[in-house]
Amino acid sequence: MPTTSDGRPGLTASQTVGPYLAIGLTWEHGEEAVDPGTPGAVTVSGTLYDGEGVPIPDGMVEIWQAHPDGRFHHPDDPRGVAEAPPGFRGFARAQTVDGGRWSVLTLVPGAVPGPDGTTQAPHLDLSVFARGLLDRVVTRVYFPEHAGVAGPGGHAEDRVLAAVPAHRRHTLVAQQVDGGYRFDIRLQGENETVFFDI
């Protein structure tokens, strides 16, 4: 294991998942962040596109998010470890095997505390992996019903959205569709999705 000049362990570099990620990363019910039939369960789905608008059939999307009350089942949430609602995991992964399409089942998260006393609008953190991506790319999914909310929980108060150039913010907001939301991801080109340096 290489070390840095100050003797700390050197970080392990990322590599692509390659074309055969389905072998290692397929989980039974992996696309369910919440059990089907749970009240309030919605699908978040979309298509993953490359720079020519061609769907990517060998990618994977993962989401991570807060509970509907904005808390997390995690020791690093200083508000305390919150029990998840029944059947809810907050995490899901979905492969884009269906012609670039992916779909997860989840509950809309609650608003989450942000910097300096602000509140972050409800959001999912989303990672994209694919052949040709040497590292994951990270984006966020926001929900259209919070766009017009003034004050805490609305898009206007969200510091992460505020840091995104105004003309690109729409790429982070899902569209309402039957049964849930649609969130297409464009890795490159016109209306390229905003990706974050995490």
Binding site: M1, S14, T16, W64, R79, F91, Q120, G132
Partner: protein, 256 residues
Amino acid sequence: MTTDHPAQAAPGPASGLVLPQYERPAGVHPPLDSPDYRSTGLRHPKEPLVLLPHLLTEVTGPVLGDGRVTKDDADLTQWDGGEALGQRIVVRGRVLDSDGRAVPDTLVEIWQANAGGRYRHLRDQWPAPLDPHFNGVGRVVSDSLGRYEFTTIKPGAYPWKNHHNAWRPAHIHFSLFGRAFTQRLVTQMYFEDDPLFFQDPIFNSIPDEKARQGLISRFDYEATQPEWALAFSWDIVLRGSGATYFETEDVDADDE
């Protein structure tokens, strides 16, 4: 799990909430635009990335493992009622963060080609045989000291069509979660002295020589199992806080 973070107090991460912060590696990960690896061409974002502060969603992450992993998942050499062909090897190491702390209880997922370099996947059709007793997938959860161990078969090299006469060096794909969304990592482990490194644009996409060497496992004679298996060691380092932290436990003393 405990909340023993050195709590690098980030300036005002959340009102009254002190969150762990993770270092942002520079020059370690490959550039997304790496033209020698042709598939990056239409798949890398061209717009600048927007800085995402490490807020609650980023410093938390899923706790996975229980219910996803059985004891058999650590042994890839037995499948469908028989034994896989090839050189049996143990692959083991520790999951750490860059502060030197163990990352316990974290899911480690691997997948790989068989001894002949063939994946059990519809889209892998090159003329090397499938092994009826090798499916090429493994899972473990790291122990309380961050240790993981698999028993598998040394994977073969395989051709791909990136450039003329292109071959991937032998490798095992690894996927890790760590304890926070910031620490998520997918990578590949390689083997010492592979003659194919020179022409592999995926391995060589990592700009830093030391970081490249960090993906190469070490032959570990001490970990070999007499009359059974060779062994390779490989430690995986996820992002830490950037602060100096030394673990108080003497890990080596606990080794058999």
